[in-house]
Amino acid sequence: MTFWRFGFFAALASATQEDQRPVFRVSTEAVQVDVFVGEDGRAVPGLLASDFELYDDRELRTIDSVTVAEVPLNVVLVLDTSESVAGETLAHLQGAAGAFLDELSPEDRAALVTFSHHLSLRSGLTSDVAPLKQSLEEVKAIGGTSWQDALFAALEMLEVVRERPMVLLFTDGADTYSWLREEQMIPLVSHSNAVVYAITRDERAPLPDLQTSRAQERFRQNRRERIRRIRLLLDVTRESGGRLIETSSSDRLQVIFLEILAEVKTRYILTYSPPGPVRSGWHDLEVKVKRKGVDVHARRGYYYEPAP
């Protein structure tokens, strides 16, 4: 399966303060697009601007620069601490998130949001991982699941961040308590600059004894529910240029967290300057690489909002 993934954020040259929302202004701004290029699941290194083609509303743009891993990361860890992760899964999750934090560069920043039926900001964006890890250790598993609300809160936190905003979401089950509905998630991700990676547990159970109609019904219901949840996570991550990873066992979480970090560090940031006035509203984006057999993962587009 090919995922589109890349990130977009508009960088406003004249605005440097983080408490201002990035505003896309013609003639003073550059557009940055966060792209992952993979081949057989591995990052393809060493690409130059001349290796890419970037289309904004089907118009080919000239790429001004390509950078890799030079721009610090701003990542919000959004972790499921509902009752279903109690025990071994929580321990694995804490270990995985801790290892992820340890591997960040000194310039990178991270924040921690946990969710059950309640959302908690354990730590705002910081490059000091020690208190973050301390918060991580204090987490307890209780209550239901509200990952949709938690993702919204994380995306809103990242609205003011221009440098490589990213969400790393782990959830263990279906959303049971969010106020926000499924259909509200894609527009939220579309309007955000953040790349969303998600990890969820693959709950594919062995085929049960389906001799009774009740067992068959239960099996079908389980499958429908699981498909619906996975599809939403898939759509959310794809829309943002990120990726969904399923794992059958929580003891693989640390490997997955670190793989994601390594992948993020190999993403290319393409910068280009749109010529002339920019139309407000949605812009389709397409990034191509002039090589055969590679997957290009990038955001599908962006919204341009004129300054008020």
Binding site: R21, H117, L119, G144, W179, N222, R224
Partner: protein, 355 residues
């Protein structure tokens, strides 16, 4: 005396101040064992579990004895010259306690059997005028208890059994708005527990309509009715009961939930200013419930007020988990709220019987 014999004998309750006595007709032999617990219950004024510190085995033994009381009282009712309502009330409550004991151990069939017995005994109590305060509470408690049974069975995916309890409750109390409300709320959200199957919204709406005709100014019923109408896509009709809740001097949690529902409808129709106003009012009604801030944050975000949205979300994210636990998470625990009301109600009933 064997249990089988007891079933065949008529009995009588002899009025004695402060005590319940039972004699088997024809022998005048007091059945002190059978009534010991009823008297103990009345005299001590304590819940059954406190009286007996029941183990599973004790519970079964006790249940057998109480079943005997029930049968004999029921049989002997025809012969009663001066039935003692207080004794019958105590026996009825005792049955209810037994039912709760079984329910706490997930032994639903036995629990239901004892509730049925409690219901039968309660009908031995004299004329409605005399029994109204107790009877009303008891009926409500039974309805709520059925609600609990239904809820737990749905949660355990024992849907057939849950449906039976539900329809039994509605059959027993066809004109009790509380029971109709409780049954409706289970129908309304049981679908979500059935792994994504649609809830029985139409049936729930019918029950709420009936309840609303019986209690037109009950904010709980109005709220549920508005809620289910909205889920059915009948939003024009949904607004009226929700707005009526605001006009009543209702509890703040009703105001909160009504505002949240109205805000949600406004937001879905693109009336963001209205949505924001409703969510703000909800947050003002109960400042410690987080969801209003999430909803408000989203509406502000959608309206382009990003700075305010972040302020509101910052406030939400800084909220103490403890407050959420205490309220069982705010609006989403609402359906459970009905069941949670059972215990204080039962305490009131117990106190009344002890008097």
């Amino acid at each position: 005396m064997a249990f089988g014999q007891a079933l065949t004998l008529a009995g009588a309750l002899i009025l004695s101040p402060g005590r319940c006595e039972f004699f088997v007709l024809g022998t005048r032999e007091p059945e002190t064992e059978l009534l010991r617990l009823v008297n103990l219950y009345r005299e001590r004024g304590a819940p059954l579990s406190d009286l007996l510190h029941l183990s599973a085995a004790e519970s079964q033994a006790f249940a057998r004895r109480v079943r005997k009381v029930r049968e004999m009282i029921a049989q002997g009712a025809q012969e009663m010259l001066e039935p003692d309502d207080a004794c019958l009330q105590a026996a009825s409550l005792l049955e209810t306690e037994i039912a709760m004991t079984f329910a706490a151990r997930s032994r639903w069939e036995e629990a239901d059997s004892h509730f049925e017995a409690a219901w039968q005994i309660s009908h031995l109590i004299e004329a409605p005028k005399r029994r109204l305060p107790f009877q009303r509470d008891w009926l409500l408690a039974t309805g709520l208890f059925h609600h609990q049974l239904i809820f737990v069975n749905v949660a355990q995916e024992a849907f057939v059994r849950a449906d039976r309890f539900l329809h039994n409750a509605v059959r027993l109390y066809p004109n009790d708005p509380e029971v109709l409300l409780a049954a409706g709320s289970i129908l309304e959200w049981s679908g979500s527990l059935r792994w994504g199957e649609p809830a029985h919204l139409k049936e729930a709406e019918e029950l709420y309509s009936r309840a609303r005709r019986l209690a037109p100014a009950d904010p709980d019923i109005l709220l549920h009715h508005g809620w289910v109408l909205e889920k059915l896509g009948r939003e024009d009709e949904a607004a009226a009961p929700l707005l009526q809740v605001l006009e009543l001097e209702a509890r703040e949690d009703f105001l909160y939930r009504s505002r949240m529902a109205l805000g949600g409808m406004a937001e879905r129709h693109g009336r963001l200013a209205d949505a924001i106003a409703h969510y703000e009012a909800a947050a003002n009604a109960i400042a410690s419930w987080q969801v209003a801030y999430v909803a408000l944050g989203h509406a502000l975000h959608a309206s382009g007020a990003h700075d305010r949205a972040r302020e509101v979300l910052d406030r939400a994210l800084a909220m103490d988990m403890k407050s959420a636990d205490e309220t069982l998470g705010g609006w989403w625990s609402y359906e459970l709220g009905i069941a949670l009301r059972f215990e204080p109600l039962f305490e009131r009933m117990r106190a009344e019987v002890m008097r």
